[in-house]
Subunit: 702 residues, 2 copies
Amino acid sequence: MSAPRSPRQKKTARAAVMAAALSVAAVPLLRGDEGMWTFDNLPIKLLKEKYGFVPTPEWLDHLRLSSVRFNDGGSGAIVSKDGLVLTNHHVALGQLQKMSTPEKDYVKEGFLARSSKEESACPDLELNVLVAMEDVTARVLKAVDPEAAEKDQNDQRKAEISRITKASTDQTGLRSDVVELYQGGEYWLYRYKKYTDIRLVMAPEIQAAFYGGDPDNFTYPRYALDFAFFRVYENGKPLRAEHFLRWSVDGAADGELVFVTGHPGHTDRLKTVAQLEYERDFGLPLYLEVARKKRQDYYDYARKGVEQERRSKDRIFGVENAIKAVSGEHEGLLDPALIRSLKAAEDSLRKAAAGAKDEPALKAARSSWDKIAAAQKKLGDRRLQTAYRRFDATKVAGLANAIVRCVAEVAKPNDKRYEEFRESNLESLRFRLFSPAPIYPDMEEHLLAATLKDALEKLGPNDEYVRAALGGDTPEQAAKKLIADTKLIDPAERKKLVEGGEKAVSTSHDSLIVWARRLDPVYRAQRKWYEDEIESVMTAEGNRVAKARFAAYGKGTYPDATFTLRLSYGRVAGYELGTTQVAPFTTFHGLYDRAIGMGGKPPFDLAERVKAAKTKLALDAKLNFITTNDIIGGNSGSPVVNAKGEYVGLIFDGNIQSLVGRYAYEDTRNRAVAVHSSGIVEAMRKVYGMDALADELTGKTR
Amino acid sequence: MSAPRSPRQKKTARAAVMAAALSVAAVPLLRGDEGMWTFDNLPIKLLKEKYGFVPTPEWLDHLRLSSVRFNDGGSGAIVSKDGLVLTNHHVALGQLQKMSTPEKDYVKEGFLARSSKEESACPDLELNVLVAMEDVTARVLKAVDPEAAEKDQNDQRKAEISRITKASTDQTGLRSDVVELYQGGEYWLYRYKKYTDIRLVMAPEIQAAFYGGDPDNFTYPRYALDFAFFRVYENGKPLRAEHFLRWSVDGAADGELVFVTGHPGHTDRLKTVAQLEYERDFGLPLYLEVARKKRQDYYDYARKGVEQERRSKDRIFGVENAIKAVSGEHEGLLDPALIRSLKAAEDSLRKAAAGAKDEPALKAARSSWDKIAAAQKKLGDRRLQTAYRRFDATKVAGLANAIVRCVAEVAKPNDKRYEEFRESNLESLRFRLFSPAPIYPDMEEHLLAATLKDALEKLGPNDEYVRAALGGDTPEQAAKKLIADTKLIDPAERKKLVEGGEKAVSTSHDSLIVWARRLDPVYRAQRKWYEDEIESVMTAEGNRVAKARFAAYGKGTYPDATFTLRLSYGRVAGYELGTTQVAPFTTFHGLYDRAIGMGGKPPFDLAERVKAAKTKLALDAKLNFITTNDIIGGNSGSPVVNAKGEYVGLIFDGNIQSLVGRYAYEDTRNRAVAVHSSGIVEAMRKVYGMDALADELTGKTR
């Protein structure tokens, strides 16, 4: 099970050797089309056996180099030689919101650049393309003294990672991240080409893109035009893209083999059962409690007026989306059969560890499960603090805290800093800190007051955070004063402070900077506790468990998602649900059926342009479709490509049955939901009159 | 909670008095729009409070007298002054199948009579209209000696019922049935106007009527044109209908109050928990086992050729339908919460009975639950015999058995006969026995062999039924001989035997009559055992439980369904399912969306006429819709009427969540599924070009 590799990718033979040397259990069972595979370790044999397809190194490189990461959370692909990038509307939503004004609401009205002059620069969007991958496991592990205390090992590891990334950035000028895979079983240096001059080209109205709203989110059948186009510029000109995905006008057919590349954000498939039980019983319920409160805060603000409603749209989308996703995950964890099956797998590995004689990796993990469970319990005891001491509850409050932290951290040697302030991350950080995206004082005040009120209620007046944050005031008083007296709304003020360094910050009288200085020690103490007591144990013991898994199974499986590039395979397929069958495709007919069937009530009303286009549209055109690919949040905007490497669809959702995928791939009804390539072009031409762009996309102008 | 009554309906004050005198518990909770109400006892107060609607006696009489029972199992309504009757295609299916030939397959191709001359007589269809209702509880109970043994009480009750129906038939010439309600809490004499000259007017192709086939059955959203028109003739001319439902061209709106009249076949909402647990653990699983085997037998036969496939269509539909319905019921019973809630209600009544001091009805029921449980157990011990000794496994075998039984029974005094052979039922019986509907010898042989094989396998060679049925042959040999040597395929032969009476039958050498004579004693012994040991206990003790319920709750509730006329109320409403919302309506758009989305694969392919009509149809027209009405099998073909008494829809299905309705009304997601009145007319005009009929229906020609 070896993968073809591009010259840049070096191979580690360790896993293969270990897998060959030991055979505690069979290869772990992959269910259905399971797997978010790294590009260095694809299930080539499986693909060949199951689908008769063998990807060439060129095919893989082309796919990888056409794939794009949206650094504010999402995926995309380059789809024309002139740097056109296609992603989801909901991935673009943050930028759309930032670019909108009370006079011109691109979220509500959409955005259509009919010439390159009309393409509009995004305030703070960074795109990454993964250009190189290097296994640095040996280097990282060598820097760690296995005899040292766990928290020291943690420090040593982080310091080495910091050195690796800095050296890489210095040497190549590329964004360089060290990615921890298999919970520390492997470390890889990923180098990215980074683009920051990104311009918005086209976005439908949110009502067309997010048709069906919260009810239809994580649902199928869907009828959403969830797409948006950006263009990458370099030196003020459209990127001359060496790699881009060619468009398939017909899109994917039923049963066809398809691939998804993208950046799944986070899975917990290697977590121990104790950790999952904690999530089920405490973690997720608490998360949902906080998120529901947040949602209420946004609703309350949005109700104040039309403009407030406009400003809140992306926040409300985000929190509703999260609530629905986490509710689905929680449902999944509540299934005793799932926990039983995970427990059986874990027990088998623990048994192997307990009985191991000569296998050091297995022996070393013997007590790891218990230690993780103990750390988990410790974390649970402070879960309220972790949840309700919110340091970035509002935009400007988060920026103030980040500035105070930033100037202190950058004064330290690079390898002593918090990870996010290390040299390799500073450029991206500054980009975010100095973003000209609008900040609305009344919204800030509303949310800050609500957040402080929650903290007071849940943690009590004597909590350190509460005392520091309130400074003797009521939550409303504190929020009012803090927002009224800050100048940080202006990016230039933030820049002045960061560039003035510790001195400027420590002498500032800005209300929020003073406030953030008070909060800083609370933040640092809490983070230290978390890193020393919890994270270090979880990392070290998780690493031992991962090594034991390696000893038992080799690299026959894939690592948890880490918001880095992965490839998944699958096929276009309907499924059985309840007593009936769900169709693999929807069409424009279905969109109008749903709108009329729901009586046109929001969120099932049609955007005006969509309503008007009915007589022009080919109603039979396919609109959305589903595949068995293994995806999760972060894959939003991912391209779906066929075996020829052509663009056939745009991932925008997973069905509700896919959400348990955070913990395990469900192999009968898990479906990724995508916009069909033919539906995108049909809408571009008939609904939006964007023929020139459609021509560029489909290669008609080439 | 008293209902307006027509002059023919007499009131029993007993229940009201009992309810006033005693107050063991509150009125039983009605959930949502629960209830299949008899026309003498409508929840007037509730309707007024909840919907602000008070039906007048005239409104109710008009509705009742426009409602029609299809005696082969279904409901319908008179919809024009010229006796046009509208029901489901699947209610008409049996007749369509009987009227079809290898040359002209009305099931597959549909049937369109474009003039009255083309309206085609049905071979054996009987329609009933309920013209009078009379409470005969006092008469029936008076005839029963409460000191007699239970089986004697059973005989006395049946004899009295037989006298009542005979007297009524003699006196009025109307079909007269005594209906047992509230498990013997009440007995009502229902008189029906009976129509037997029924002609087929219009039926779509089965592919349009039953679009989505078995997968979409008991499912919603649906896109089915499940309608068919008949016309009632009297004296060779179309019926001049005094009562018929006027058509609503716009149909029902979202949220609108609607009513359904019809003949729900069977519910078990008053069964004891012991009975339901029996069904859950043994009854339904065994039913499903037998039905799945039957389905396999039909499949095997249908695979023999195109003509065999044609002949089997209605059987396959019937058995698939039953399997899906019963699977849904079984699912419902497996829900521990349901059983818990039913048990809590039962315990409360049992507690009241145990603690009763002066309430004879409550005291009398004290041991009833235990006795029912014991009888249930006894029945369970012989459940294999009950299930696998099949006396009507094939059409002609069933007719042979019925003839042998019939001549013996009619020789007895009327009140000593099996119920189905009493005078009042004889005309309907003869109609069925002498039906000219086609019988296919090869199909009969195939099914008889399969049935006998099952019996041999499950009951063993020494079972009395098996010995009598096989007569020493193998199942294949027996079936071959029996079908080859019978003349009963010919209705004239059957008529000759029945008219020749016991003598003709006892001397007949017809293979199946000889066979049926051998089986007759086995049948009679088994039926006697069932009636004496099981039915008598269930009836008598069920009667006591029903009386105890009356004592506690009065007539504040409705009786179990009995395939007699009921009225349910509800409203047009979508519902939440999983994480999304189900629309109250579907449109023609949805039909094409589903066909394309499923790649046109059967059963999701479009009938040719439907495919061709796409450009002509108003695609926005509503096709199907859902309501909260409480319905069950037998309601198929029921009219949905609005508060003005107009025809707004045609019941044809319930969603899967409604199936638990056999045991309890589910008040959040239970939905009845109907064809929308505007969709029917749109299809009649644009798909089938039946404008004259559509004009008659919508009153354009009046």
